[in-house]
Point group: C3
């Protein structure tokens, strides 16, 4: 995972290099863009990955979340998914779009004195749904 | 689909006339309310339709998303839904409330120089879950 | 249910004492923090409960929503959930994390002249997924 920043009128881009399905933590990168008092908005600029705030302590939680979503939305070549029509981009593509509909594309977190109002156990993640490597962009911006 | 606007202290209303379940694109209407630098908030004022950001290129993607949610939450007269109790408003009503719980009621999109930070393939949609025609309102507002 | 407030640089905390799974209405508490023109952000500081905007008229709707999510994500000791690995905190814990991934952690509601732009039938709820009593915190903040 690599992070980049590009300031444009107050908006920053957090870049995440993903290598297959999973939760990639971006809590520190998001926190680095929080300042003063207001609300931090995160917005993922893609339709086959998601944002997610989840438990940051036990990796088993993240593994179970992945397993649940893979069972709820199996690959397109699974018999239960035979109704899918958009299959030209591979068996992981359309399920990725469906997962990206079920999970957040935008998140807003209150900020006080430059600190995110996260609970003790909350981490911020980029949730990759595609099989192959991708370079993902999360737009981040404070509002007051 | 018809769009209306009604400025009230900076809040605008995008109106969408729906004719049955499906994704109704409102990207242009949302973009028309973006200005300067900040965050655009969209909020749908109903509990049986949703907002959704999804792939805007291949209509098959949208058809597959509809098919997935119809299988996940079938009409109330489907045997698997016999546990539902709120059925007086028709077999499409309670499933619409459930879909509206699974899909976004609010979205936030960063704005730079009046442009939404949407990715190349992202479109903004009103996702109608009810069978009959409805007039839907999406409240839209910039914050800085 | 008990509500508390603690002003910190414009951020307020709405506290909800939950006694088991269900929807706990916080519309009035949220509305009390709306002022002027802008957007109200609500953010739940936990990973095993959610926020939800849903129909506020018929309690059957809320019961059906609970029933749907309990069927979609049964307790960890249900045969269909035998793949779960994070089970040390009880059979309700990992399903609570999964529900908290499917349902909103943050909500944004436009505000005009101090009034939330809620539709007629929209209520704001804290959706508790855990079996035992919990003290939940919802961070609330206006942005302009």
């Amino acid at each position: 995972m690599r992070q980049g920043r590009a300031s444009r009128s107050g908006m920053e881009i957090v870049t995440v290099e993903t290598q297959g399905p999973g939760l990639y933590e971006i809590t520190a990168e998001a926190a680095a863009h929080a300042s003063g008092d207001g609300v931090l908005t995160l917005f993922v600029r893609h339709t086959s990955c998601s944002l997610l705030i989840q438990q940051n302590a036990d990796p088993d939680v993240q593994a179970d979340i992945l397993a649940f979503f893979d069972r709820l939305v199996p690959p397109a070549d699974h018999p239960s998914m035979s109704y899918l029509t958009h299959t030209i981009e591979g068996p992981d593509d359309m399920p990725a779009h469906i997962k990206a509909s079920l999970l957040p594309v935008s998140l807003q977190i209150p900020v006080t004195n430059g600190r995110l109002a996260l609970g003790t156990w909350q981490g911020i993640y980029l949730f990759e749904h595609r099989t192959f490597s991708h370079r993902r962009e999360v737009a981040v911006r404070m509002s007051r």
